[in-house]
C-alpha cells in the first residue's frame, strides 16, 4: 500500500475520503428537502406547525381544497409558459440575427444583455416596479410575464449562441440558391440545426421563471405565484399543505427532467 501511494493516482477508483466528502455535500444539499417532505406528513394542525406530531397523508388531500394555493401554482405555470414562449421567440430571433449580421450597436446589445444576468435580482425588481408605477401599468400577470422575459431572454440567447458558434451560414445560402424562400430556409435548415439549443434555452427560462422570488415580489400586484404564496405562508409558519404541494412539484419536475434528459442523451448519442 505504501508503494501504491507513490505511483500514479488511481483515477478510476474513488478514494474513501472523497466519497465520504461528496456524500456529506449531497446530504447538505438534500437535507432541507427531506425536512420539507417530512413536514408534508406532519399531523400537527396548529400554527406554526413547529413540532412533528405524527404521520398523516391528510394534507395531500386537503391541498386540493385550498383554491388560493392551487391558483398560485396555476399562476406560476401561466407566467412561466408565457414568459418562456416570449423569451424563446425574442431570443432565437436575436441570437440568429446577431450571428448573421454585422451592424452598428451590436456590441451595445451584447453588453446590455449581461446586465440582467449580472446585477442582483433585487435591482431589476425595483427598477421594473418603479417604471411600472411611473407609467401606471397595473401590476399583475402582465407585469410578471414582462419581468420574467426581461431576465430570462439573455439566458436563452447565451445558450443559443454557444450552439450557433459552430454553425455555418453557407447552409442557408445553399438552400436559398436552390430556390427556397427565406421562411422555408429558416424552417427547414436553420431551425433544425439550432433546435437543441432552443430547447435547452427554453427549459432554462422555464426553470428560472418557476423559481423566481425576488423579481416577482416587486412586480406582482395582487397576483400570487407559488413562490410568493410560500413567502406569505413563511410569515406565520409554513402549512403542511404547502409542503405537500412542494413535494408533488419536486416529484413532477424530477420526473420530467429524467424523461427529457434520458431522451436528450439518447438522441445526442445517435447524432
Amino acid at each position: 500500500m505504501i508503494f501504491m501511494h507513490n505511483t500514479r493516482p488511481d483515477r478510476t477508483r474513488p478514494h474513501l475520503i472523497g466519497t465520504l466528502f461528496a456524500c456529506s455535500i449531497y446530504l447538505f444539499l438534500f437535507l432541507p428537502i427531506f425536512v420539507v417532505i417530512l413536514n408534508s406528513f406532519n399531523a400537527n394542525k396548529t400554527k406554526p406547525y413547529a413540532t412533528f406530531k405524527g404521520f398523516t397523508f391528510e394534507w395531500y388531500i386537503k391541498l386540493f381544497d385550498n383554491p388560493a394555493l392551487l391558483s398560485s401554482f396555476g399562476n406560476t405555470l401561466l407566467v412561466a409558459f408565457a414568459s418562456t414562449v416570449l423569451s424563446v421567440l425574442i431570443g432565437t430571433l436575436a441570437a440568429v440575427g446577431m450571428h448573421r449580421y454585422k451592424f452598428k450597436g451590436k456590441s451595445a446589445i451584447d453588453a446590455l444583455l449581461y446586465i440582467p444576468v449580472v446585477i442582483p435580482e433585487i435591482i431589476l425588481g425595483i427598477s421594473l416596479l418603479s417604471v411600472f408605477a411611473w407609467v401606471s401599468i397595473p401590476r399583475g400577470l402582465i407585469t410578471l410575464i414582462l419581468s420574467h422575459v426581461a431576465f430570462s431572454t439573455p439566458f436563452v440567447i447565451f445558450t443559443l449562441r454557444a450552439r450557433l458558434s459552430g454553425y455555418d451560414l453557407t447552409f442557408e445560402e445553399a438552400a436559398m440558391d436552390l430556390g427556397a424562400n427565406r421562411i422555408k430556409t429558416f424552417a427547414y435548415v436553420t431551425l433544425p440545426l439550432i433546435l437543441p439549443g432552443i430547447l435547452s434555452g427554453g427549459l432554462l427560462a422555464f426553470t428560472l421563471s418557476i423559481d423566481d422570488v425576488i423579481i416577482s415580489y416587486f412586480v406582482n400586484g395582487t397576483v400570487k405565484t407559488f413562490p410568493l404564496k410560500v413567502m406569505e405562508s413563511i410569515k406565520s409558519g409554513v402549512a403542511p399543505d404547502v409542503n405537500a404541494l412542494s413535494t408533488l412539484i419536486l416529484l413532477g419536475t424530477t420526473g420530467i427532467v429524467l424523461l427529457t434528459q434520458s431522451g436528450l442523451f439518447k438522441s445526442e448519442a445517435k447524432s
Binding site: G18, I123, S130, A150, P154, T207, P227, V230
Partner: protein, 287 residues
C-alpha cells in the same frame, strides 16, 4: 457573404433584432435610468415622490450606519464565496473524476434541489435548526445537550443559508473548468516528478482558475441582494444591502432613498465585474 449593404437584408435584420432591442430598452435601460433619476429625488411627509433635484439621499448614505451595512454585506458575501470555493472545488473535482455514467447522475443530483422552490428549502433549514426542530431534538435525545441550542437568528445561520442557495452556482462553472482539464498535462507533471501538492498548485489550479473566478462572481453578487435569507434565518438582525433596499420600497416607503441604495449596489457590482475581467475572466462564463 451577406453584408449589411445588401438592401434585401434590411427587412429580415430589423425583424430579428427589433424585439430584443426594444425589450432591452424598455425593460432594462429605461428602468435603470429611471432609478438613477429617482435617486436624486425626495419624498414629502405623505411619502410621495417629489421630483426635485438633490444629493440628500447620497449624503445620507455616507453616514456610518449605512457604511456598516455595506461592510456587513460584503463580509457575508465574501465568507459565503470562500466557503463555496473550499467546499465546491474538491466536490466538482470528485464528480469529474467519476466514470461518465455515474458522473451524469451525480451532476443531475446537484441540479435537482434547484427544482424545489428556494424559499421553502430555506424554511426547511429554519425548521431543521429551530429550538423544536429535528437537530435539537436529536441532540437532546443523544444527551449532547439537555436544553435546545440556539442555532438560528445569527450571522452563521445567514451564511449557511446563502451558501446553501448559491452552492450550485459555484459547482457548475467549476465542473466545466475541471472537465476541460488536459489530463496529459497533469500526467506530464507527475512524470516530471512533481508532488501532488505542486501539481495542484502549479498546474491544476491555474488551469481551472476561470471556473473559480466565474463561480465567485456568481456567488458573491447575488448574495448582496438576497434579502429573504437574512430575514428568515437571521431574524431580521443583520441587515444586508438587499434588506435595506427592500425596506425602502416597502415599509419605509422611501423610493428615492431605495434608488440611491440600488445605485450603490450597481456600482459595487460593476467594480466586481471589472475586477473579474481584469483578472482574465470572460463575461461569457457568467451566462
Amino acid at each position: 457573404m451577406m453584408t449589411l449593404n445588401d438592401k434585401k437584408q434590411k427587412m429580415p435584420m430589423l425583424t430579428m433584432l427589433s424585439p430584443i432591442t426594444s425589450m432591452l430598452i424598455f425593460l432594462v435601460v429605461i428602468p435603470l435610468i429611471y432609478v438613477l433619476v429617482l435617486s436624486f429625488c425626495k419624498t414629502n411627509e405623505y411619502y410621495q415622490v417629489m421630483f426635485t433635484f438633490s444629493f440628500d439621499n447620497y449624503k445620507n448614505l455616507l453616514s456610518p450606519s449605512y457604511f456598516q451595512v455595506y461592510m456587513n454585506s460584503i463580509v457575508i458575501a465574501a465568507i459565503t464565496t470562500v466557503i463555496c470555493i473550499v467546499l465546491g472545488y474538491p466536490f466538482a473535482y470528485y464528480i469529474v473524476k467519476q466514470p461518465p455514467k455515474i458522473r451524469t447522475i451525480l451532476y443531475m443530483l446537484v441540479i435537482i434541489p434547484f427544482w424545489t422552490n428556494s424559499l421553502i428549502r430555506i424554511y426547511g433549514w429554519k425548521s431543521f435548526l429551530g429550538a423544536s426542530g429535528l437537530l435539537n431534538n436529536l441532540f437532546v435525545w443523544l444527551g449532547i445537550t439537555h436544553k435546545p441550542l440556539e442555532l438560528l437568528f445569527n450571522r452563521g445561520a445567514v451564511v449557511l443559508g446563502m451558501t446553501y442557495t448559491l452552492f450550485p452556482f459555484m459547482v457548475l462553472p467549476l465542473y466545466t473548468a475541471i472537465e476541460k482539464l488536459d489530463l496529459t498535462l497533469i500526467e506530464a507533471s507527475y512524470d516530471l516528478g512533481a508532488r501532488k501538492v505542486n501539481t495542484f498548485l502549479h498546474v491544476i489550479l491555474p488551469l481551472t482558475s476561470s471556473g473559480i473566478f466565474a463561480g465567485a462572481i456568481m456567488v458573491f453578487i447575488p448574495t448582496l441582494g438576497f434579502f429573504f435569507v437574512s430575514d428568515i434565518l437571521g431574524g431580521g438582525k443583520s441587515d444586508m444591502i438587499g434588506n435595506l433596499i427592500e425596506r425602502q420600497f416597502g415599509s419605509a416607503n422611501n423610493w428615492p432613498l431605495g434608488s440611491a441604495l440600488s445605485i450603490i449596489l450597481i456600482l459595487l457590482t460593476l467594480i466586481m465585474v471589472r475586477l473579474y475581467t481584469k483578472a482574465g475572466g470572460k463575461l461569457e462564463d457568467l451566462g
